[in-house]
Subunit: 532 residues, 2 copies
């Protein structure tokens, strides 16, 4: 969902939730769900029960694989259910109501590139739809099958391919398999003193291959915001062969081959390996929080900061609603959370320069330590807890949506106002009551910013999905009208198709369709995502 700074805990003693975010053990108990729900007037008193796989009426798999592939494949109901959906609000609600989308017939866990190629070959021969699956954290309908055109559906779970295969310490790069989850990747890099420092909110539950396929946004608020920039080369298994680019620090030889696969969301091939650019582990860190009287003044400060060349690692601007909601500021302030880090040189001077610049624009440093550290820590804790609270609210039939975008600075004030006003109006119209529409800037650039919106409203049990769909459609419409991207780092998937189709230049759509036909002639890879 968003960039963060999570712990790298070993995960052995916990169980992944098949229907909701993350770990079963971290989900809010019923009483806490009810307490949270009580904050939103009009919700039922009791949470929907936690859904059980056994209650699903799973159809018999429509297909079997030939014997050589059998060891890679399972039809286990729990596996099939867990691979049926991503982790968007609509996914959670569908699971809660025991109405998941088409459940995959089979789940495959290849152990090698050859396994992947063999599975794609078989899928092409049989017309089986293949849904590449990393950690399954998509919030845009990226890992489910919708439609009728394919006789069977295979979820291709890459998480057995989870090794760092090679480390080039001199060039600070590593060859890594696509199926590695965030914490396991960092554990393997740590003995080399290296880190990818790519920490999306989904870090524990998403994979390198997933990040690459969706152009994930990571740790850095400025400069190198997307995982794209850390990609030195890719290996991609396409239905017509392996696409392997050379390891190059830079090149001008034709359009970048890697940039075609970055963001291809599993529609053109399966990313099995990448050489990734790494960082030395930072030893110098400094952070601060600055309070502003208004979002407008704060955004202006952030713009100047983004154009200053100071390159903060963290530069997150919380509007007053977001700051209040996350506990970063209770006094109605807008809060700027700043962080600098370096493996080489002290960063205190850069932080002081940034704070001074913020002060010039009406900012007031939060008092130490309860203030700065307090705001930073409160926000971070809330950030990592948020998806679990989202699930708790979903169980109470609350409506929760997060969406993000980016636009240039000249259009930011109008976009901010329009999204808040029109989304709030849609919430009112759809639910009959006021909701919360909060905003933060997660990434900033010299020429613009990426606002991230959170919508919370009271839904009506049984009508949650329709309500969510209508609010989301209204929000997507505002973004499109303002020519703000339909997604800065959540990807397109199936849910963002209307906005994406509007935004994508028509000749490029034709070009992408031609690429799809060339690389995936049977049309089996993630049908309905981006194209078709």
């Amino acid at each position: 969902m968003d960039e963060g700074h999570p712990k790298e805990q070993p995960a052995e003693h916990r169980t992944r939730s098949w229907w909701g975010w993350g770990w079963c053990e971290e989900a809010l108990p019923d009483a806490e769900c009810a307490a949270l729900g009580a904050l939103l007037p009009g919700l039922p008193a009791d949470p929907l029960p936690v859904p059980r796989v056994a209650d699903l009426d799973l159809p018999v798999p429509a297909v079997t694989v030939p014997a050589p592939l059998a060891p890679l494949v399972t039809a286990d109901p729990a596996d099939r259910a867990a691979h049926a959906l991503g982790k968007a609000y609509r996914d959670v609600v569908r699971a809660l109501h025991r109405t998941p989308a088409r459940v995959p017939d089979l789940v495959a866990r290849p152990r090698s590139e050859q396994d992947v190629a063999d599975l794609l070959d078989w899928a092409g021969r049989t017309g089986t739809a293949v849904i590449p699956y990393g950690g399954g954290s998509s919030v845009v309908g990226g890992v489910e099958y919708r439609g009728e055109a394919h006789p069977a559906v295979l979820s291709l779970d890459l998480t057995r391919m989870d090794q760092v295969l090679e480390v080039d310490r001199v060039s600070r790069a590593a060859r890594v398999q696509g199926g590695v989850l965030g914490p396991h990747l960092e554990r393997q890099l740590r003995p080399h003193g290296l880190t990818l420092r790519h920490f999306p909110q989904s870090f524990e539950f998403s994979t390198l291959g997933g990040w690459l396929a969706t152009r994930a946004g990571g740790h850095y608020a400025t400069l190198h915001t997307h995982v794209d920039d850390f990609t030195e080369s890719l290996r991609v298994v396409t239905p017509i062969g392996v696409n392997s680019s050379w390891r190059l620090p830079g090149s001008g030889a034709g359009p970048s081959p890697d940039r075609l696969f970055l963001g291809s969301e599993g529609t053109l091939g399966v990313i099995t390996e990448a050489w990734m650019r790494l960082q030395d582990r930072p030893v110098h860190k400094a952070s601060a929080a600055v309070l502003f009287p208004s979002f407008e003044a704060a955004a202006e400060a952030v713009r100047v900061l983004a154009q200053s060349g100071l390159h903060p690692a963290n530069c997150r601007l919380l509007d007053r609603g977001e700051a209040a909601f996350s506990g970063a500021a209770a006094d109605g302030s807008t809060v700027l959370v700043l962080g600098f880090e370096s493996a080489h040189t002290p960063v205190g001077g850069s932080l002081a320069a940034a704070v001074s610049l913020a002060r010039d624009h009406g900012g007031r440093p939060a008092p130490e330590p309860a203030g700065a550290r307090g705001a930073v820590d409160s926000w971070r804790a809330a950030f990592l807890r948020m998806p679990y609270q989202r699930d708790a609210l979903a169980r109470m039939s609350g409506i929760v949506e997060t969406f993000e975008t980016a636009c240039t600075w000249d259009r930011l004030p109008a976009l901010y106002e329009a999204v808040r006003a029109e989304t709030a109006a849609a919430v009112k119209e759809v639910t009959g009551a006021e909701g919360l529409v909060n905003c933060r800037l997660t990434h900033v650039y010299p020429d613009g910013a990426a606002p991230y919106f959170t919508v919370i409203a009271a839904g009506r049990r049984g009508a949650e999905l329709r309500m969510w769909d209508e609010v989301k459609a209204a929000a997507m419409e505002v973004l499109g009208r303002h020519r703000a991207t339909v997604t800065h780092h959540h990807a397109v998937g199936r849910d963002h198709r209307p906005g994406y189709d509007r935004q994508r230049p028509e000749p490029f759509a034709r070009a992408l369709g031609a690429v799809k036909s060339a690389l995936d002639p049977q049309g089996v890879l993630n049908p309905g995502v981006l194209l078709g």
Copy 2:
């Protein structure tokens, strides 16, 4: 050819050379050519005469345009001759021997996007090959027609579309027409206090559209090395319609549409406009030169510097041959030329940190001012003079080639040695005498570097092209064997096709072919470049 730091002089009183680099007035007189040639044993005593258009035997144009297009088009012999070739060594030699490639039948100078679309429509109907032409500074055969498949050839000169159309001061961006030459672009931005700061060696003689189409390398030695990174959005006229991307500071919505056209070298469409990210004009600058006893030690220092996060704007490492040749150091030293710049904060501290780091790796700061400034200024003057000297040597039948590449740090020492040894051996074998093979690093990255090689040898009059081709083929073969890119910022054109075809992943080649067929169904755009 390479990044630099040129003057923005008004150009009104000078005449562009139709056959050689830049301005006629800057070309070396015969006596200086002869003096230069005398440095290479075995060359003839007299230069080849400056070629005249009148001596060319131009065929009658094979095609005419319909009346509405007539005002856009000329068949003037001087125009046709000037658009027949780029500015590679082989282009100059062919002009000197009055054997240019197929001269275009017509030269068109559209004034608007609609003109471009109309011309492409006509070309598609008549099967006329269209060669998009900016400043014509290609050194890779990017602007000439080779082949027989098209009945006629049109050179599409974009330089009438040379305006900055809109400036967004808040977002520091401008909407600029593709045909603007470097100095005219900077002159239009200057009143706004803004600059693109993209200064290829060809700055005076190349256009924004050309930079974008070829992924040109610019001013910055680190961080944002290619013009790609400064591109906010593009307008591209393709034969099937206009491709217009939204202005976005960042996006994760599918594969980047702009990245498909960046590097497309005129094969997929004509870049008529771009929103470019700009910089505030720097007011703080500091530079220094550091001398090293060996290339190996210096490269190690540069690697650590590139990984330090200091981000020098200039970080050019000249090996002993290059340093001697350019006058940066006469004592056999390897020279590192460092420069920092900022619009916002003093850069003395960064320069001191970089010099200190270089010292830790055996570097010795050049004495001030004759040393540091001297080495920097000497190198810069030589850098801008170099293409004129190249032409002078060509007139003496010397052989001059420059080529550049990039590879990761782990492979740099082996690549450096292999390229120098094998290219020198090829020179010896082809010409029978020793030649110079010098190297500099022009751009550096955390994970690698971009070496730029210069080859100078004595050719034999009449056999220059064959000799050059053989030396170039040998060099390209070494690069490919070491999996170093065939070009870091010179582009592919027609001359680098063998290396490019070797480097390009096969599925991507198929994808690009499919894109070509979708966007340019008649196959009229820059045939033979990248594809076909």
